[in-house]
Every structure is written in structure tokens, then in C-alpha cells.
């Protein structure tokens, strides 16, 4: 293959990745606007943060190779994102459970209750601390 063909193929691949990433990020943001309750909304950013960012980072890797300065730092960004994204999602879930702003979850099948709803040992202090002030 001539260098021109390689450059062309790389350009096409970069373009496809950029478009795919942009489309999924857009759908993620659209979902955030469209979905109507907090628990459903939580599902929209999981798309933006996986395939959306993933495709954009892939474009960045390909671009670095096309410029002859290969870089794999993007893989690291991806890895850290995949490790941290579920944590923030779970925090938002836990806040919703605490504030009872979602459907009440069914009882767990083997233990007594869900960890977030278990306020027996903690007294009621943390729960009260979390309730928004009236007014």
C-alpha cells in the first residue's frame, strides 16, 4: 500500500470514530433531557461515557498514529473512566434511594434490607442530614 492509501484509510477511520462518538454523546444528552424521572435519567449518561467517549478516544489514538507520534495515553483515560463511572452512577442511585424519590425497591431475597435503607445502627442522624430544608 502506498502512504497515500494508508493516510486515506486512517482519515476515514478517524472520521467514522468521531461521528459515532458525537452521535452517542448527543443521544446521551438528549436522553438526559427527555427521560422524566431521576432513575431513568441515570441510564442516559452511561452511553455517553462508554461508547461516546470510547469512540472519541479511539479517534484520538488513530490521529496520533497518523501524525507519527503514537500515543496510548487514551487507553489509560478509558480505563480510569470505566473504573470510576459506575461509582458516580451508584452515588446518584443511593441519593435517590435515600430521598425516596424513586419507586420503592423490592425486598432483597436473602438479607433483611438494602444497605442504603439500613439506618438502624446509624441512628437517624445521616438520613436527617440529607433531607432538604423546607421553604
Amino acid at each position: 500500500m502506498t502512504p497515500e492509501t494508508v493516510t486515506l484509510i486512517l482519515d476515514i477511520a478517524i472520521t467514522i470514530s468521531l461521528v459515532v462518538g458525537a452521535v452517542f454523546t448527543l443521544v446521551g444528552s438528549f436522553g438526559l433531557l427527555k427521560l422524566d424521572d431521576a432513575m431513568k435519567r441515570l441510564h442516559a449518561p452511561t452511553k455517553a461515557s462508554t461508547l461516546g467517549v470510547g469512540a472519541l478516544l479511539l479517534a484520538s489514538i488513530l490521529g496520533a498514529f497518523a501524525r507519527d507520534e503514537p500515543s496510548l495515553q487514551e487507553a489509560l483515560i478509558m480505563a480510569f473512566l470505566f473504573v470510576t463511572a459506575p461509582i458516580s452512577a451508584q452515588f446518584i442511585c443511593k441519593v435517590n434511594l435515600h430521598r425516596r424519590s424513586c419507586m420503592t425497591p423490592p425486598e432483597p431475597s436473602s438479607d433483611s434490607t438494602w444497605a442504603t435503607l439500613d439506618t438502624a445502627d446509624a441512628g437517624d442522624a445521616p438520613a436527617q442530614h440529607l433531607t432538604p430544608e423546607k421553604g
Binding site: G31, K40, L42, G54, A85, P86, K94, P105, S110, S112
Partner: protein, 166 residues
Amino acid sequence: MNRAARAVFPHPLLTILLAITWCLVANSIALGSIVMGVILGILIPLTTRAYWPDAPRGLRLFKLARYVVLVIWDILAANVAVAWLVVTRSNTAMHPKWVVIPLELRRPEAITMLAGTITLTPGTVSADLSDEGHCLLVHALDAESAEEVRDEIKDRYERRLKEIFE
């Protein structure tokens, strides 16, 4: 592995992972950064071993690699499905459901990986763990029946994680 090696490398896999991470951060595979990565890979596990006494020993690496590929494939497929769902289906036609998953996994590392996998796959988010850690609460964006989602997660992910960790 003999005891001397065990004393220097309490978590050999973590050592390798830290060395690779350092090379990626430095963005070079020069000898200098590999040496620095290995030094960090030896020092960090040694200083943190007291906080992680029963770290998993002997992960099945080949199965772990296959699991990672499977999860990436599922993320791609589910992304398309959920994007279509979000764009085309109206709010009232969606059936969000809570799904209770009784866990067979006991290792905290394995449960963390299962919860992370569930959240990363679009359409499902893991929300909470029961107080004794025997059940996982999952929220599904649109599901016909909670049992179906539960069986799929148990069969697709939990079974494989059990093979990797136990």
C-alpha cells in the same frame, strides 16, 4: 512461589499493572520509564498490603481477558439498543424495573466487578447491595420481566466471574 519472592511481590499482578500504567502515563516505553514503573509497582503494593490482607490470589488471566472482550462487545451492542430505545420510545411506554439479583459471588472484588459491569452495560445500573452483601439491586431502564434480566446477568456475567475469581 517461594517466601522471599512473596515478600517482595505481595501482589505480582498489581506490580505488572502499575508498571504498565506508569509507562502509559509517561507515554514512553524507554528503559527509564519501565524501571520507574517496576519500582513503583514494588513500592506501592508493599506499602498498601496491610490494608488489603486477603487480596485475590491466582486470577485466571485467560478467562479474565475473554470476559473483558465479552463485556466490551456487550457494551457496544447494548449501546445501540438503548440509544434506539431512548430516541424512539416515549416515556410512558417504558417499563423501568427494579431487579433483585441473589449473589453467589462472595469476594468483594468479584462483586465490585459485577456491579461495575452491570452499570457500564447501558440499560442497567447497579444501585445497591443488601446489608449483608448477599443481593444486588439493579435498575433496568426497560424490561418486560425482572426475572429475565436477573437470569441473563447471572448466566452471562456472574457465572464467568465466579470462574475467574473462585
